[in-house]
């Protein structure tokens, strides 16, 4: 049975912070089919398009019939443990700090055998298991085997926690408290056991309707943060940069403007400054310290979440400026992901469809209520996802982009 993760004690200020290391990250190009599945929480394996047999490890041809038509497709998640070990000694520097490490050999219900990370509550050989694909600290896909039914504190298993970004006992910064999702996020994070929730507010003197609701959440602390001011961002980072283990960037700035409007460029510049440059300022101020704390104990820095619009992936005419800004944010987010990976920090992109708020008043349903978005983000952190699509519109566009991006472009706004 998993022991509940204790709330961390105050860190000894004289203690050296453990430097982050990464698990072995070399993979074949084909193996990134698993990375793709893991990033969105799917369980996919190669399956032969000709003979129908599943293959693993990842290959270039089916070992049964030599067909090159090995596609990644959703696969049954069940399996049986054949054997297990507890590794106590390794020459790898990352794993050396995490010994002992439990692994097993699983016979998948769909055929192949797989070496997996084993949850501590899995029974011995012969036990049925459920598998998921996870991204490890290096951002690479790995199999994780869970017991088929829930066990007490199972989310606190130390191996599982290495593969997720669970908010439990972690401190979170929400960058923009005026965002419509801020209250719902604070509530969801509190429920998930976050230790503190810092909420950035620009121009604190300006009242806003959710202030009381935010302050009512236990553990929430409002802090000055103006994303358009480099100085404001730097000052906050100096205050609490080393206390942020999860950063959720909720900044957005939705203003409709037509491309041929006289003031469209100004509108775009303003949105760019607020959202894109805001993200960049945040990254510059908080990125380095978070990256350096990626191995700082069981509650070290773990994730950076960008709340993005699905229209960053494909423009819609009504919100052209918004789409362009979000596309720029996505690109910046990929850059940030590459930089933070060295610290084992996961950059999560939560792509939402239009929110049910005033700035999307003209958009027909379905729209995303803030609570749905907040719950999806927290769920994604707890499951260790990297790309989260929230709401029917986002899911629809993501699926269509996967199928045919040109069709999404042609049909946009129709």
């Amino acid at each position: 049975m998993t022991e509940a993760l204790a709330r961390p004690k105050h860190k000894n200020p004289l203690a050296r912070t453990t430097q982050p290391l990464l698990p072995p990250s070399a993979r074949s190009r084909k193996a990134h089919g698993l990375t793709l599945a893991a990033s969105v929480g799917r369980f996919m394996l190669q399956c032969c398009g000709e003979c129908g047999k599943y293959a693993y490890p990842v290959r270039e041809a089916c070992p049964n019939c030599l067909s090159p038509d090995l596609r990644f497709q959703d696969a049954p998640t069940g399996g049986t443990l054949i054997s297990e070990t507890r590794i106590e000694v390794t020459s790898d520097p990352y794993y050396r700090e995490h010994m002992p490490w439990r692994t097993g050999l699983v016979k998948l219900d769909c055929g192949p055998s797989a070496v997996v990370h084993l949850h501590g509550d899995c029974g011995g050989p012969g036990s049925p298991l459920t598998l998921t694909l996870q991204l490890d600290r290096a951002g690479q896909a790995v199999f994780f085997a869970h017991p088929i039914s829930e066990t007490p504190n199972m989310e606190d298993d130390p191996q599982w926690r290495e593969l997720t970004a669970d908010p439990k006992h972690r401190r979170v910064l929400i960058s923009d408290g005026r965002s419509p999702v801020a209250v719902a996020l604070a509530l969801a994070l509190k429920k998930a056991g976050a230790a503190r929730i810092f909420v950035g507010i620009a121009d604190r003197w300006k009242p806003f309707s959710e202030q009381a609701a935010l302050e009512a959440v236990e553990g929430v602390e409002l802090v000055d943060l103006d994303l358009t001011s480099e100085r404001s961002v730097q000052e906050l980072a100096m205050d609490l940069g080393a206390k942020v283990e999860i950063l959720i960037n909720t900044a957005d700035h939705v203003r409709p403007a037509h491309l041929f409007d006289a003031g469209a460029a100004n509108s775009a510049r303003e949105a760019m400054d607020h959202t894109v440059m805001g993200l960049m300022r945040l990254a510059q101020a908080f990125g380095p310290v978070m990256r350096s704390r990626g191995a700082d104990g069981a509650t070290g820095a773990v994730a950076w979440v960008n709340v993005l619009s699905i229209h960053g992936l494909s423009s819609v005419p009504q919100f052209g400026v918004h789409s362009a800004v979000q596309a720029a944010c996505l690109s910046l987010s990929q850059w940030l992901r590459g930089e933070l990976r060295q610290g084992g920090i996961r950059v999560v992109n939560a792509f939402a469809g239009p929110l049910d708020t005033e700035w999307f008043q003209t958009v027909p349903p379905p729209k995303v209520v803030p609570k749905t978005l907040a719950d999806a983000i927290v769920d994604g952190l707890r499951r260790g996802l990297e790309d989260i699509y929230v709401g029917d519109v986002a899911k629809d566009i993501a699926a269509r982009l996967f199928d045919n991006p040109k069709a999404v472009e042609r049909e946009a706004g129709q």
Binding site: P23, P24, S25, A26, R27, S28, A31, Y56, P57, V58, P63, I82, S83, E84, T85, R86, I87, E88, V89, T90, S91, D92, Y94, Y95, W101, T103, G104, L105, K107, S113, A114, V115, V116, H117, P125, D136, Q140, V142
Partner: protein, 391 residues
């Protein structure tokens, strides 16, 4: 398959000049240095120039970026039969088989089979991290336990299924240590007791320290030639009676419970005109004692699943009922990379030439050597075996 025919005999093929370049735990030299030492010892042992080797067959994990062809220039060789056998612990016997056919056919007269590896401070970690594509994709990222973790999974399953106990593995390890005490080249020569074996620190359950080989630097080598060549050079030799190899056998088994020996063992014994009981000694590939136990079963010394009982019923020291890994094997001599697959061959040659010193098995006339290698993902893929006889 219906169109396969009986394989031709190895009549007239002999092995001569067993060479061991004494191992070192760590070496500052490259693999090439160890190969050079081995080639020189072969030439001196044969009383000819190394330029007279018209066949060269090399095995090594650490000779990169060179391949076999680069080594010809490095060592001043001009062979007409050139081979690189990168099959880990099966390399030795695979080298014998290829060399044997080359000398039988007249493609070569004298084939120098050399295995050498260095062990610099970080060599072992780098070899594991870059071992194979499947290992990189699908086993090494899981705790980075290397072969210890992979074979631990195989061993745990074997123990569950066939009732082997750690004490059974320990018995083999301890017998090998007893043998190693008599071998001047063995790196591990402190006596080992069952208590020490059982209480050693854990490595990857069920393995503890003395279940694991120690990586080191070293080289093993021998010559393959026709009988008349050996006679004209005045070299003592041993005969090759039979040899088999098989790769990726039983790929449908969800976990390794047997090796490819099972597929071909009837031919192995049939060609040699011998049975398992006729062997005066056996040199198995002992990267782990559980694999030696699997070889006892798969090479017909007992039935599948009777390995533990076979171990309990026999003694494995040089003077035991089943002399086994008579030099101490890799577990006590050290594992010099790919040379681990040649170690049993040179030792078997010495036994049959009567030059095994204190490790000599009385009246050894017939011996079996087996090789096993390449844990590409979850199991050893290569298996091989040969029967050698006193001339």
């Amino acid at each position: 398959m219906a169109f396969s025919r009986m394989r031709q005999s190895y009549d007239g093929v002999v092995l001569a000049v067993p060479v061991t370049v004494p191992y070192q735990r760590y070496s500052i030299e490259r693999a090439h240095w160890w190969m050079g030492r081995a080639l020189r010892a072969l030439a001196e042992g044969a009383g000819i120039s190394h330029r007279d080797f018209d066949g060269f067959c090399v095995s090594s994990f650490t000779m990169g970026p060179d391949s076999a062809i680069a080594l010809t220039q490095h060592f001043g060789l001009s062979p007409r039969h050139l081979d690189h056998v990168p099959m880990g612990g099966a390399s030795g016997i695979v080298s014998i088989r290829r060399a044997a056919r080359a000398v039988q056919a007249g493609d070569a007269d004298i084939v120098a089979c050399v295995a050498a590896d260095t062990n610099q401070v970080d060599t072992f970690r780098k070899t594991l991290a870059n071992f194979s594509r499947f290992a990189q994709d699908a086993s090494y990222p899981y705790g980075a336990g290397g072969p210890n973790a992979s074979f631990a999974l195989i061993a745990r399953h074997y123990m569950d299924r066939h009732g082997a106990a750690r004490e059974d593995f320990g018995k083999l390890c301890i017998a090998q240590r007893d043998n190693a005490m008599k071998n001047p080249h063995a790196l591990l020569k402190k006596p080992l007791t069952l208590e020490q074996y059982m209480s050693a620190r854990a490595i990857a359950a069920p393995f503890h320290l003395f279940d694991c080989v120690m990586p080191c630097a070293g080289a093993e080598a021998f010559l393959v030639m026709r009988e008349e060549t050996a006679k004209s050079l005045g070299l003592p030799f041993v005969r090759l009676l039979s040899a088999i190899e098989r790769h990726n056998a039983f790929c449908e088994d969800p976990v390794q419970v047997r090796g490819g020996w099972v597929v071909d063992r009837d031919e192995l014994y049939g060609m040699a005109g011998a049975r398992p009981d006729d062997m005066d000694f056996i040199e198995t590939y002992d990267d782990y004692a559980v694999i030696s136990m699997m070889q006892f079963e798969d090479l017909g010394f007992c039935e599948k699943g009777e390995g533990p009982e076979f171990v309990r019923q026999n003694t494995f020291t040089v003077d035991g009922s089943m002399p086994h890994n008579t030099s101490g094997g890799q577990l006590s001599v050290g594992q010099a990379g790919a040379a681990g697959g040649h170690l049993g061959i040179t030792e078997a040659m010495r036994q049959l030439l009567g030059s095994a010193g204190d490790c000599q098995v009385q009246d050894a006339k017939l011996g079996l050597v087996s090789g096993f290698g390449m844990i590409n993902y979850d199991r050893g893929l290569a298996s091989a075996a040969a029967i050698l006889a006193r001339a």
